[in-house]
Point group: C2
Chain length 220, copies 2
Amino acid sequence: MTKKGRQAAACKCKSSCGASKNTGTSAVFQKRKSNIIKKAAKLFIKKGYAQTSMRDIAKATGIDVGNLYYFIKSKEEILYLIFDMFHKPEEEIFERFEINKIEDPVQQLKTMITELIGFGGNFRQEILLLYRESRVLPKENLKCIMARESHVISQIEGILKEGVPKKVFKIEDTSFTANMIMYELALYSMRHWNMTPYLKNEFIDLLWNHISKVVLSRPD
Amino acid sequence: MTKKGRQAAACKCKSSCGASKNTGTSAVFQKRKSNIIKKAAKLFIKKGYAQTSMRDIAKATGIDVGNLYYFIKSKEEILYLIFDMFHKPEEEIFERFEINKIEDPVQQLKTMITELIGFGGNFRQEILLLYRESRVLPKENLKCIMARESHVISQIEGILKEGVPKKVFKIEDTSFTANMIMYELALYSMRHWNMTPYLKNEFIDLLWNHISKVVLSRPD
DNA sequence: TATTATCTACAACGCATGTTGTAATTTGCA
DNA sequence: TGCAAATTACAACATGCGTTGTAGATAATA
């Protein structure tokens, strides 16, 4: 990219569109924009971010190269918006499923994990993309993403911490374990070539079996 | 890169040098070459593969851009050689520590894990690089790397399988568990920003504690 | 010292890249 | 219909890229 300072969408902002005067509220505009994001995601996943050119994206969307900039600010921004698309809803799983209203910490954890995998399974490749390419984002956006990740981890740790005094969990280091669980959740994405024998539900069972051995005070 | 077919080092080959007539056996030649690899590794880790130019590598090594090609065949080859540097020794840990000569499967597993982490800890960033950038390698080299990975996993699974009939391990799906263990070993690299509170030995303890809960038939 | 093999300096090639500017066209609305 | 806003078409820019070729310098060998 030509040096002109980092200009991808800021952390919480809804990514003000690229058009000069366009309010970005038009339905077609949004549709076209999200199409760019989806098509670009496919390409980035398949070929890698650096190996995908704006001209590739233009071809895939049918939008002229130059006009892409009518909808987005930069190539970098596209990447950020891809992450935003699935990473933001992931953060809200805890609230959406009202997990804090479940009284049993074991059920809390199981629900959380099931939903996280269920959700993550729909964005397997995008998660991989996040791991692979997030480094190219400007620091600010990177921070934003890591903050979201940390937020989910702390939610998991919260569940664990609740279960320890209740004697349903037995965990020495809740922070480490929460991190590990979050990390294990990505196994299905990260090592998919070795996970092909398993269907998603099988994987959830295996993973829950795995995790419950680690955290439950009385396994089985 | 200019299209001219994939030309990085083949799977097992010792990467025939770039020089036309040079046998590549000269000590200085090898020294210079491995310096290129090391310096390039640093740059790739810091800036990413695509964001690092041959001119950057030239600057870092003090070798003229054009003359880099006297030592290596292509930019791609450098990446492959970086992976080769640490990935090959990792594969040989099982033999080097004569793990199959240990009779107790629990000690086998513990030794294997300890050594893998101990080794991996020295190449934390390189492992990250492997996860991030291996996709840019030609398929053949990629296969080679995944084969090595699978080899280690199957060694772990071998240990697990030995322990199950001896009733020291209790594992439903040894393949899944072996995969998971291999994956967990990379936690320290992959999520280092969350692992900073832990020293390497602390991490080994935590991880062994974690894994033993999963695999041992009688934890504690 | 003469000759060959190893290494270096330097310039250049050809191409693909992200991005911009602008004029024309279409659309939405009064 | 007429005007303004939204959208498109097209060409161009500037630059950085991986790689090559070659002529000269140095080191090793005899």
